[in-house]
């Protein structure tokens, strides 16, 4: 089995829950510009954690893992832009 960084599942879950709480906090408190950026980054962080931490897809297929994270990045970027520009 190829050696790669394997985050422990409880640590991944804790990071996901903290990022979810931070997203909700950002949505409730930040002005539009920083809110868009914060929500986009936190959402992408969570999506990447699911792919790399729960699925550990990078061990089997780095290309598929990159494609899933790229897909999530596109949607997070669009959502963040909409929030930042339209409030």
């Amino acid at each position: 089995m190829p050696r790669s960084l394997a985050l422990p599942l409880p640590a991944v879950l804790l990071a996901l829950l903290l990022a979810t709480g931070a997203s909700l906090f950002a949505a409730a408190t930040l002005p539009a510009g920083p809110r868009g950026a914060a929500i986009a980054l936190l959402s992408l962080f969570k999506a990447a954690l699911v792919v790399l931490g729960f699925m550990r897809l990078q061990r089997e297929s780095p290309a598929l893992a990159a494609a899933l994270i790229g897909y999530a990045a596109l949607l997070c970027l669009l959502a963040g832009l909409r929030i930042a520009l339209a409030g």
């Binding site: 879950l13 996901l16 829950l17 949505a27 959402s43 699911v50 729960f54 909409r82 339209a86």
Partner: protein
Amino acid sequence: MNIAVRNINLDAGHPASEGGMELLLWILVWSELIVFGALLGAFLVFATLDPPALAALHLALDLPLAGLATATLLTSGCFAARAAFGHKPRRNLVIAALGGLAFCGLKIAAFAHELPVLAASEGRLAELYMLIVGFHFAHVLFVAGLLLLLVAWRPAPRHVATVATVWHLVDLVWLLILPVIYLG
């Protein structure tokens, strides 16, 4: 995932049907992602074109309940991952399924007070919201209520890994629904 792409090499002595099943799994995963991507893209366009409708929709949504549902779904995903990595697959799959059903319960609680408001409003955003969240709800109900429990009954490693992949897809889609619909 321990599963999916690893055994695609037919030279390794695996039956051809295994590679075919894995290819089908990833075709299914990407089909789902494309459908949800199109729906979320449409939501983003209509939300940009009609900010008052988005503001009205946000007033009807229960953000704390959505946060709680997210935490429930992610915790369930963690148990599915544990099952896929070989830790007591039956028990972890059942816990994952219960987490999914708890998510459904939380969404039903949210729908109970969102639907009357949304039904009274006109416009595409409310319809798109119901379509996207309802479609995801159907996925959770089907995978948690049927597939996870079915595989937990006789947890063959390949099946556990496959159903865990589908469950993580459901997680991933919800994590993308959250910023597009709820947090905006």
